[in-house]
Amino acid sequence: MASTLTIKDLHVAIEGKEILKGVNLEIKGGEIHAIMGPNGTGKSTLSSAIMGHPKYEVTQGSVTLDGKDVLEMEVDERARAGLFLAMQYPSEISGVTNADFLRSAINSRREEGEEISLMKFIRKMDSKMEYLEMDLNMAQRYLNEGFSGGEKKRNEILQMMMIEPKFAILDEIDSGLDIDALKVVSKGINEMRGEEFGCLIITHYQRLLNYITPDHVHVMMQGRVVKSGGPELAQRLEAEGYDWIKQELGIEDETVGQEA
């Protein structure tokens, strides 16, 4: 049975300032959703709040995964419940190898005594790295340390493919990628497609959606989803920009008033 991630009337504040002002969204297993919108409209805040970033405070509303209250869970519990966030700025962790970390992450989902065997793990990691055209030596490098922007993004996708979450949120996975890297990253995401996998892609460029066809496209402005549609909506945004939506909805400043 496909899972459902439901976001209802979500309000989120950072340092006392409200950024999200009532977001509603439902994502089912098998669906790919894209959230688009100009800078400063709350897109990244949404992804951070769903995952449980320590700086973001949910002031109202709910997030549930198959009826279970996600907001009650610690960050690691959310991950084990099936959520995954490919971060815009992944942390660098010195002294912890990519491979060791991923094995810990996979084993955290398994019972004691049921850990993934080392051989099986290595085979899986090698094959996913090859699929993403990554240098196999990166398995033994420290987590994200000294990685280029593109390498970090690929590494986020690698983690997603290894962990196989129910829902992945990809926060600007395409920013800073050249066209070849973009194709590889898209290939990884498409490989995950299936009834057991739902995905929320956050981007402000349409070009990623040339490689990944979303089932639903949403536009965020002023901390809310202001328009939803199918893949044709993304194409229209690419061709015409956001002004027509602002006019249609009578919005003058689409941001939530963040500086810059």
Binding site: H53, V75, M87, V96, F101, L102, Q159
Partner: protein, 436 residues
């Protein structure tokens, strides 16, 4: 203020102890004179740590009786993991409190004319060689009260001598076991690498008693002559209640290299003074230190590199984790003497605090008396980065596991530098136990 101290052992005792051990006259004399000096010399003054109330001089026993180990299988569990139980052809010295309890010398070392033996045997059988280096260019007897007291009362230790042009491929290992609560150890380690030689030495200080009030006054001297290379690894895990003064000193000749990898994991109060003198032109010193402090212990870690030679390079890297109510001072000193042109002094100290009550200070100091040099320092004291934890936890690992990963990663640069796999594993296990 008078620094006179009534010492628990007198000249007659020292004299007769030395004779009983069959030591040559020069050593007896050195001991007796040192005892004289110990009475009046001042205590060492580690910067920013007050040790005036620490007991380094009052104790009951100079020697405790311990048995030999008939075989390596008789070793305590903690020690068995450190050593290779199977190999018959290895360089391994095991000391039990004051007693040389096991020694094995490889064919390689014997064939190449190397010496590796306990300090008493060295004094008896290699007296002249020992005299040439013992407390001469490294640590001097009269540096302070504790070095003098050490010289007077040495009751354990090891001598490693690598002749000219000899490279010893297998690491040399020493384990100093503390299994008697009444032990007080004045341990002397002397490593001499003659011109163009190379050796790796690794030592462990291991307490198998849970708590003891013993005094540990440890002096290490590493002499690396021209173009020699010495890699020196150490893991100290002395028990809570002990009071430790450990002075590890290196002297590097022309183009010589000394690399230290020190895991300072004592549970008692500790003063660790690690100084490397880069005497020769083109000499090189690399010092990596990791520390975990816990409980209520107070520790001072002073790491110094002094550049005398031109084109000398010194690198200090210290990482410390402080938890509970532990207090630690990390002093890093890079000193470039006048004339040591084109030298480079670099240091980095990082302290990670795991509790509100823990205290840690990193003090980088550069003292430069020469214009044509490069130098740099970095120091930080902080807490585990919440964003790192968030990132790791977002992949499903628990907060505890995430913290463990960050801490191990933080200490990894030094742990990975340890040259013996078993010792590396042991240090990892010790860290695991201490940070949990």
């Amino acid at each position: 203020m008078s620094t006179e101290t009534k010492l628990p052992f007198d000249k007659e005792y020292v004299n007769s102890f030395s004779k009983e051990m069959g030591e040559p006259a020069w050593m007896t004399e050195l001991r007796v004179n040192a005892l004289d000096q110990a009475e009046s010399l001042p205590m060492p003054r580690p910067d920013k740590t007050n040790i005036t109330k620490w007991n380094f001089t009052k104790f009951e026993k100079h020697i405790v009786a311990s048995d030999d180990y008939a075989s390596l299988n008789d070793l305590p569990e903690d020690v068995r993991n450190l050593v290779n139980l199977e190999s018959a052809d290895q360089n391994l010295y095991i000391q039990r409190n004051n007693r040389p309890a096991y020694i094995s010398l490889s064919k390689e070392v014997m064939d190449k004319g190397g010496v590796f033996t306990d300090i008493f045997t060295a004094a008896r059988d290699h007296g002249e060689l020992l005299q040439k280096y013992y407390m001469k260019d490294g640590v001097k007897v009269d540096e302070n009260k504790l070095t003098a007291l050490h010289a007077a009362l040495v009751n354990g230790g090891v001598f490693l001598y690598v002749p000219k042009n000899v490279e010893i491929t297998e690491p040399i290992q020493a384990v100093f076991i503390h299994d008697d609560k009444e032990t007080n150890l004045f341990n002397h380690v002397l490593v001499v690498a003659e011109d163009n030689s190379a050796v790796t030495y690794v030592e462990n200080y291991v307490s198998t008693v849970d708590e003891a009030e013993g005094i540990f006054n440890i002096v290490t001297e590493v002499i690396a002559n021209a173009n020699a290379k010495v890699v020196y690894g150490a893991v100290d895990t002395l028990a809570i209640g002990t009071t430790v003064y450990v002075n590890r000193r290196g002297v590097a000749g022309r183009d010589a290299r000394i690399e230290w990898a020190l895991g300072l994991m004592n549970d008692g109060n500790t003063v660790s003074d690690n100084l490397t003198n880069l005497v020769g032109d083109g000499s090189y010193g690399d010092i990596k230190t990791v520390v975990v402090g816990r409980g209520k212990q107070t520790q001072n870690f002073t790491t110094t590199v002094v550049h005398f030679g031109k084109n000398s390079e010194g690198y200090i890297l210290k990482h410390g984790v402080m938890k509970e109510a532990a207090t630690s001072i990390f002093n890093g000193i890079g000193k470039i003497e006048h004339g040591a042109s084109k030298s480079n002094a670099e240091q980095e100290s990082r302290v990670l605090m795991l509790s509100e009550k823990a205290r840690g200070d990193a003090n980088p100091i550069l003292l430069i008396d020469e214009d044509d040099v490069t130098a740099g320092h970095a120091a930080s004291v902080g807490r585990v980065d919440p964003l790192q934890l968030y990132y790791l936890m977002s992949r499903g690992v628990s907060q505890q596991e995430a913290e463990r990963l960050v801490i191990h990663g933080f200490l990894a640069p030094v742990v990975n530098a340890l040259p013996i796999e078993g010792v590396k594993k042991q240090l990892t296990a010790v860290i695991e136990r201490k940070v949990r």
